[in-house]
């Protein structure tokens, strides 16, 4: 495991009284990568995130953020990270600009370009409005903007697009990809497999506090998924639908027969999704 990885977790565990939330898991995220941390509600995603940002102290194991132990050098590590939680934690009686300026001041930043930051999340026109008047999507975009006030090297995002409208979701995804392009390392918890597939370099499946799989989405699909060809055609005026595994060597010959002998209505390939693989590996659905 590379010691220089911006996010490094070794054998970390956490229990709430007798409930084991995270069970001695290890992983790392390389610089400029996005790790999609996937799991259903209650799997241990948020507990892991809280340990990574220094809100919870791991009961065993060690966490290093940018090479600094998060427990021993908490303030130093936190000065270089940005975090956005699922729950809206904004000062609602303040404006968006005031919220950002206040958080910037906590990092010792006095010359924050508020307009530019709000522009990135599509809120520049609403900068003076009270946050209490914002929609859920606007609040979430402001939360993401707030996580960026200190130009972090590592970004932690907890379900950033959960329950949002498509416009807000897309705006947030665009910001995540912009940050990645700048070399920022991103830890993204989500139960949206499509989003994880689109954004992540690596994904980790977490279930009941344990990591069930850790790899790139492509490798996981290749390893656990089946590619199939779905074909619909007419035989004796009757519509026939067949699913042919592409890995099957006999499939090619059978496809040729269909194409030659029958009237084909349509055909397309289908890949296993991360969700299918998650279910296959954990026996659980993502909700």
């Amino acid at each position: 495991m590379p010691s220089e990885a911006p996010i490094l977790a070794e054998e970390i565990a956490y229990s709430y009284n007798k409930l084991l939330a995270v069970d001695r898991i290890s992983f790392h995220v390389d610089a400029g990568e996005i790790l999609g941390f996937l799991g259903p509600n209650g799997a241990g995603k948020t507990t892991t995130l809280k340990m990574l940002v220094g809100l919870l102290v791991p009961q065993s194991g060690r966490i290093a953020i940018l090479g600094k132990d998060i427990v021993k050098n908490r303030a130093e590590a936190q000065s270089q990270i940005g975090a956005c939680f699922e729950e809206k934690s904004l000062y609602e009686d303040m404006s968006a600009a005031a919220n950002l300026k206040f958080f910037a001041s906590l990092f010792g930043i006095r010359d924050l370009d508020v307009a530019r930051l709000l522009d990135r999340v599509g809120l520049s026109g609403d900068r003076k409005d009270r946050v209490s008047n914002y929609s859920k999507g606007m609040k979430q975009r402001l939360m993401v903007a707030r996580a960026l006030v200190n130009q972090p090297k590592v970004l932690f995002l907890d379900e950033p697009t959960d329950g949002l409208d498509p416009v807000s979701s897309e705006a947030i995804r665009a910001v995540i990809l912009e940050e990645k392009a700048k070399g920022v390392t991103v830890f993204l918890t989500t139960h949206d497999m499509m989003e994880a597939d689109k954004l992540s370099d690596h994904v980790a499946f977490i279930s009941e506090g344990e990591i069930a799989a850790f790899d790139t989405p492509e490798n996981l699909k290749h390893q656990y998924g089946k590619r199939i060809l779905k074909i619909r055609y007419y035989r004796d005026r009757k519509l026939i639908e067949e699913e042919l595994p592409l890995e099957d060597k006999q499939a090619g010959r059978h496809i040729e027969e269909i194409l030659g002998d029958y009237d084909v209505l349509d055909m397309h390939t289908e890949e296993a999704t991360l969700e299918d693989i998650f279910i296959q590996l954990t026996g659980k659905k993502l909700e």
Binding site: V53, G54, L55, L56, V57, R74, A75, E76, Q78, S79, I81, A83, F85, E87, K88, S89, L90, Y91, E92, D93, M94, F102, F103, S105, L106, F107, G108, R146, N150, F156
Partner: protein, 363 residues
């Protein structure tokens, strides 16, 4: 330090932006000041008593009574009825009915009827059902005095009151000055809710969590809340003290020291309330019993007779008792050094407890 300052600045802005809190805070002070100024500034020490005398001629001769009012008043005066400043003020009633009406209407505190006929003289004291027992007792003593003064019998016993401690006769503490001490303590206790809410809101809305993933530490967070809380509570206490004329050349240092420590202790208590509550409503419910308990030392200012060693276990005792002594009994700061120590200890204990609870909740 900059981080603490940033949070304090944000909190103060939020507090003053919240019109409801701003209006309530100012309104409380104004109302307290009005209550204080409406109450009488002096204690009326005159004991007003109605008097009806009925003497038939035979009895007058037998008892050598001169029934003239001046003569009776002279005899009463000789008997010591006007020893205390203010003393006794007699209002004569021409009939028994007039006397009872005077008592019922509150024109006099008690009425004495003395009927002297051929038989044994009859002395009756009339008091209203609302009259406190101590006034009734005083009336009985005065009635007896009048009776003896009139009929000339020697007193069956040496009937005298002995005052233990400083004799406040003629310099009784007006109710409003006693109330002033309670109002000052009360304004702090009201702040419990406002200050506790400062903390509850941050925890409930998860903004505390958002702060703690920045370089802000729990110590920074707690320090900032303490500074904001003490600033607000102390300013309110000081403003009220000025409006209640509690600050003078002689008392300013002692009052400011106790207000500052009182504010700090209130903030410490608010920390505990805020840390154990989940929202404002639960905080109000949880703090109800401590709130009542903390007000108990105020009662001893009004009724010193209720003082008991148990009251010394209530933290506000060490705020209320010194304020009462300094404001009403010309005591000095040096007379209350132990109270200062207790207040400081309670404050530190509350802060530590609040911090521990908050740490368990947040980190």
């Amino acid at each position: 330090m900059n981080r603490v300052f940033s949070i304090v600045k944000k909190d103060l802005t939020q507090i003053f932006r919240n019109r409801f809190i701003a209006v309530i805070s100012i309104l409380v002070i104004v109302v307290f000041a009005i209550i204080y100024n409406l109450l009488p500034s002096k204690v009326d020490e005159v004991f007003r008593m109605g008097f009806h005398l009925k003497v038939d001629e035979e009895a007058a001769e037998e008892y050598h009574l001169d029934v003239g009012k001046e003569d009776i008043e002279r005899r009463l005066s000789e008997a010591g009825g006007e020893e205390a400043e203010g003393g006794l003020e007699l209002t004569w009633a021409d009939s028994l009915e007039e006397l009872t009406n005077m008592v019922e209407n509150g024109k006099v505190r008690a009425g004495v009827s003395i009927a002297v006929s051929g038989q044994e003289p009859k002395v009756v004291l009339y008091v209203s059902s609302k009259t406190p027992s101590e006034i009734t007792e005083a009336g009985e003593a005065i009635a007896a005095e009048i009776g003896y003064a009139l009929i000339g019998y020697a007193l069956p016993a040496d009937f005298r009151a002995t005052v233990i401690g400083p004799d406040m006769a003629g310099q009784q503490i007006p109710m409003r000055d006693k109330l002033r001490v309670i109002l000052l303590a009360f304004v702090f206790l009201l702040e419990l809710y406002g200050l506790g809410n400062l903390l509850v809101e941050e925890v409930q809305r998860k903004t505390a969590e958002a702060l703690l993933v920045t370089p802000v530490t729990l110590k920074d967070f707690v320090s900032a809340k303490a500074v904001t809380g003490i600033l607000i509570a102390f300013s309110q206490g000081l403003l009220l003290a000025l409006l209640l004329r509690a600050i003078s050349v002689d008392t300013w240092l002692a009052i400011i020291v106790f207000l500052l420590l009182g504010a700090a202790m209130t903030v410490g208590l608010a920390f505990i309330m805020g840390a154990i509550s989940t929202d404002f409503i639960s905080m109000v419910m949880i703090s109800l019993i401590p709130f009542i308990a903390l007000m108990i030392p105020g009662i001893i200012v009004l009724y010193p007779g209720l003082n008991s060693p148990l009251i010394k276990a209530i933290p506000t005792y060490y705020l209320i008792e010194p304020l009462n002594g300094i404001l009403n009994y010309q005591m000095q700061l040096s007379d209350y050094l132990s109270s200062l120590l207790y207040l400081a200890l309670f404050t530190v204990a509350f802060f530590i407890l609040g911090f521990v609870i908050l740490k368990r909740k947040l980190v």
